[in-house]
């Protein structure tokens, strides 16, 4: 079985948020509840001030602290599905311990005050157990893997577009959107990335492009000190996170 990994080249990423938009379209997430987001950081001051940005999906950690803390096994790592960490919405009790334990802040309760107005939960009230029911919905739904529109009282997060990547022919080393035979299996954020800053492939396959990129271009994992060992790697300058600093809005 593959072990899916993502590589994000920060030297190519323009911070355009196309990935974020594609993700929310693909997965019908509420505005602001971004399974995939681009984080911007300001660092330093004039004359050496810098701005950096990092796309941030769920890292699908090898040692996922979210899985360790989940009291019901609703959150689980599925090695049969490429090591993706899923949330079983039928089992989640909404204790939010996983949100406390994920160092990467990628989990969303969504059953909360709207992050962006107008409140789409009020505009499209939920039906059939859904938290909200927008007129367009992705055709895929699998609550045991946290795919589809989330119900009330549970946590959701990025699934590495399992509903797409699981359809790829077994043994495929890389899911490259430029390959017409494979493009339908590529995660939405990867497929849409205009400068091709994102790569997706099998970390267990020595021949995969993602492995070559990580090896040859010195891929790093963010917040490696947490020991979570992400399956998402970053290339290029700026793959680190400045310490939190208070900023007064002038």
């Amino acid at each position: 079985m593959a072990k899916w990994g993502m590589v994000i080249d920060l030297d190519k990423c323009t911070g355009c948020q196309a990935c974020t938009t594609a993700c929310s379209m693909e997965n019908n997430t509420l505005p602001g509840e971004n399974w995939q987001d681009v984080l911007y950081y300001h660092e330093g001051e004039y004359p050496s001030a810098q701005m950096k940005w990092l796309p941030r999906p769920c890292m699908q950690c090898e040692e996922p602290s979210c899985v360790h803390v989940c009291p019901t096994r609703a959150t689980y790592k599925d090695d049969e599905a490429g090591g993706i960490v899923f949330i079983d919405w039928n089992k989640c009790i909404g204790c939010k311990y996983c949100m406390i334990a994920c160092p990467y802040g990628v989990r969303f309760y969504a059953d909360e005050q709207p992050l962006v107005e107008p409140d789409l939960k009020a505009a499209f009230p939920g039906e059939d157990g859904q938290l909200w029911s927008p007129p367009y919905q992705g055709p895929q739904e699998d609550w045991s893997r946290g795919i589809g529109i989330q119900p009330k009282g549970v946590v959701s997060k990025c699934t590495f577009c399992h509903h797409k990547v699981s359809q790829a022919p077994a043994g495929t080393p890389d899911l490259d959107e430029d390959d017409p035979d494979l493009k339908e299996y590529v995660p939405a954020c990867v497929r849409t990335c205009p400068p091709k800053a994102r790569y997706f492939g099998d970390l267990d396959n020595p021949e995969s492009n993602v492995n070559k990129l990580i090896g040859n271009k010195r891929g790093v994992r963010l917040k490696d000190e947490t020991g979570n060992r992400p399956q998402v790697y970053y290339l290029g300058a700026g793959a680190n996170i400045p310490a939190f600093q208070r900023r007064q809005r002038s």
Binding site: H68, C70, P71, I100, G105, E112, L115, L131, K152
Partner: protein, 399 residues
């Protein structure tokens, strides 16, 4: 049976009705808002996921554990002077835990799902799983022990064994509760292997405040109405233990504060300097709710006065409630990996719905308490004569 317990009379009934009203109103208001808006009725968000309902639960659970530990003083360690409060300790521990659980039940996304998902999941890696197991056991042991006391079985071998099991259960439950926070290395404000000790000590202080308050309440705040052995304890050993616990609690808070302020890491340092110590509420609670009662009880003349004892208990209620709140929220206010989307310390203040859950829980304690005082003799102790009449002051409690 002649009894000076005012809760058995009309005063108790009045309090029962009042607290029942508050409880129903609190529940009704929260349930209504949550039915209309879901958890959007709370002010929690992706940064501060655990808000005041969780800190209220923590406050109650630890007060309960504190009472359980206090009960062990006579029941396990055989300090006979404390027999007169043993039964009330066990009872209060039980009802305060139940009330805490009621608040937690209103906070969770799917409370009833927990009943099957926890045992079927058997996720032994999760401290939250163990919280469920250990607090369920704790409740069971408290109930069993109480039932033994109702049967006036104070000293049989089985009673002692239940007492020891319950004592260990309390230690494990509250210690594990501490580890839910203390094991989170990605949350440096909480990450602390000695957190169980902090929880034990502050929990006993909390439990002691509850014991003092509710014991006095039972006798209309008139110590003269208490049975002799109980009166003697309230004049002698108990306030001394109370002041000692407050001293240790204050010391522990200071150590955490100084370590936090000294640390460079913003997740610890800024929480103390720019969040906790920047809050006037925290200052009032710490200096007025922990240090002031400590200083008052330090004076040998003041600490024996019923009014001072009750006032200190009430102050400590407030002080430790705030301590729990700032502990829980403080661990989350520095945004974790959010970039400039969250450009400052997270702002969180409980919503009216969250407050109503806190009131619901507190009122529930009063409801159950009055019922307990009415139905049982919570001041019972092996020293009591069967009639329950007071013994002459100075009589030594005997097992």
């Amino acid at each position: 049976m002649t009894d000076n317990n005012v809760m058995k009379g009309s005063a108790g009934t009045g309090l029962l009705v009042l607290s029942l009203l508050v409880m129903v109103a609190g529940f009704g208001y929260a349930a209504m808002n949550m039915a209309a808006h879901g958890h959007a009725a709370f002010n929690t968000d992706a940064n501060v996921a655990w808000g005041q309902p969780i800190s209220t639960y923590l406050y109650f659970a630890l007060a309960s554990s504190g009472l359980g530990l206090l009960a062990a003083v006579p029941l396990v360690f055989k300090v006979k002077e404390y027999y007169p409060v043993a039964k009330r300790c066990i009872f209060l521990a039980f009802i305060i835990l139940i009330s805490g659980m009621a608040v937690l039940a209103m906070e969770l996304g799917h409370t009833f799902r927990m009943i099957w998902a926890l045992p079927f999941g058997m996720q032994v890696q999760s401290a939250m799983f163990w919280m469920g197991v250990l607090y369920a056991l704790d409740l069971l042991f408290l109930l069993w022990k109480f039932q033994r006391m109702e049967g006036r079985d104070w000293d049989s071998k089985t009673t002692l064994q239940i007492g020891i099991a319950s004592f260990l259960g309390v230690l494990l439950a509250s210690g594990n509760l501490a580890l839910i926070f203390g094991m989170m290395s990605m949350r440096p404000f909480w990450f602390d292997p000695s957190l169980p000790i902090y929880f034990y000590l502050t929990g006993i202080a909390s439990g002691m405040a509850a014991l003092v308050f509710y014991t006095y309440l039972a006798y209309g705040f008139d110590r003269g109405k208490m049975p002799a052995a109980l009166r003697q304890l309230m004049e002698g050993g108990l306030p001394k233990l109370f002041v000692t616990l407050l001293g240790i609690t204050f010391l522990f808070i200071m150590v955490r504060m100084i370590t936090g302020l000294y640390a460079n890491a913003p997740e610890i340092n800024l929480v103390w300097s720019d969040y906790i110590l920047a809050s006037p509420v925290y200052h009032i609670s710490l200096w007025g709710g922990i240090l002031l009662p400590f200083l008052l009880l330090l004076s040998p003349t003041l600490r024996v006065q019923p009014a001072v004892q009750v006032a200190c208990a009430v102050l400590v209620f407030g002080g430790l409630f705030a301590e729990r709140y700032f502990f829980v929220v403080g661990g989350q206010v520095i945004p974790l990996f959010k970039g400039t989307w969250a450009w400052d310390i997270s702002q969180y203040a409980p919503s009216a719905t969250e407050w109503s859950l806190t009131f619901m829980g507190a009122a529930m304690i009063f409801v159950l308490y009055v019922l307990g005082e009415k139905m049982f003799n919570l001041s019972d102790s092996p020293a009591d004569t069967p009639s329950g009449a007071s013994q002459p002051a100075g009589a030594k409690a005997t097992a």
